[in-house]
Symmetry: C2
Subunit: 210 residues, 2 copies
């Protein structure tokens, strides 16, 4: 790795945002951007942008800002997006079905290659061109296909069991949409929780008190 030390997860999330706006800029034909511009587009501050980048190296030119193509390449390298990732979907309910059709995953380098389900009705068929396996087959399929990332979209009740099985199948990164928010992963694995219900509850807090 070209860098050392522990980086805050907040920095990582922001890099992802910076990358988005940089790609927008590139698509517009823009060649350079300053930390101030990037900050404004991501609701951040110039100092924050520079500090985040500085953990990984010096990518800008004093007086000139950042070359957009170079910075895109740098951030993609940092985030490990200079490759493609195979992803499994676990749970083909409403949410799973809608996410698997979501084109942005492919655009940013993540390919769904397997779906795992319990419902015998669905197994053996395919959805959106992706084969549906029984969840028992996860260890075999994930190994054969070298799948390291899973998107878990099962009902909250079954999620705890499913997390365990997913980790046992060799998955190291879980994107959890099950609504069951909290599961402590083993040290070699990572979980990101996306919880729309919790987010709307914080909106309620702010509307109530401000």
């Amino acid at each position: 790795m070209p860098f050392s030390g522990k980086i805050s997860p907040l920095t990582i999330q922001r890099l992802s945002l910076y990358l988005r706006v940089l790609k927008e800029y590139a698509a517009m034909g823009k060649v350079a951007a300053s930390s101030g511009e990037i900050a404004e587009a991501t609701v951040s501050t110039a100092a924050q942008v520079r500090k985040d980048l500085s953990y990984f190296g010096s990518f800008g030119k004093k007086g000139q800002g950042y070359n957009i193509d170079e910075l895109i390449e740098a951030i993609e390298g940092i985030l490990g997006l200079d490759r493609r990732w195979k992803v499994a979907l676990v749970g083909l309910g409403k949410i799973g079905q809608s996410l698997i059709q979501f084109k942005e995953f492919g655009q940013i380098g993540f390919d769904f290659v397997a779906i795992f389900e319990k419902d015998p009705e669905k197994i053996g068929k395919s959805f959106n061109g992706i084969p549906i396996y029984h969840i028992d087959e996860m260890p075999r399929v994930c190994e054969e296909e070298t799948i390291l990332i899973a998107l878990v979209a099962v009902p909250a009740e079954s999620s705890e069991e499913v997390f365990q099985r997913v980790l046992d199948a060799g998955i190291r990164g879980i994107l959890n949409l099950s609504g069951r928010c909290c599961f402590k992963p083993p040290p070699h694995a990572f979980i990101k929780n996306v919880n729309v219900a919790a987010e709307i509850e914080s909106l309620s807090y702010y509307l109530t008190h401000f």
Copy 2:
């Protein structure tokens, strides 16, 4: 309000998680829980749980922990969940369709009462029993129905314009699923961004570097 001062958004998010596990406990018939138990269930720490709660009052009993029903009621009060909220869905694409069928919103007090769309094909009809209006009708409908919260699930390209129109319609809380991450709301409004693509990118970072 029974409290003063600025509370960290991180505290608010965690209260939401605490509430979830407390409701699980209540459903199991449990009557009391300690900060340690709540912490374990939410992947937090006992001190963090106590500190978060302490910003709003004293809800526990020394040596005994927290009465679950009482604490649920307290947190619901804090978060403004001791009432029901009317919610608009803006954008009836795949994501919008799947979210509006998501039962948990109703269970936690949020009712979809209107859908706004641009597509003339859909307007005038209903989806899942909820009427579909043209987006131009938002100001009128939101006022008549006193809708203060909107879930925005439109394509990233149109989101900037849509945010503006949503705010102009009197909406004060936006849950943004458009993928376009960054929009600075005016001081009386609040935006919560949910960005699955950005989350999966951080997973890539961790798998690459650890």
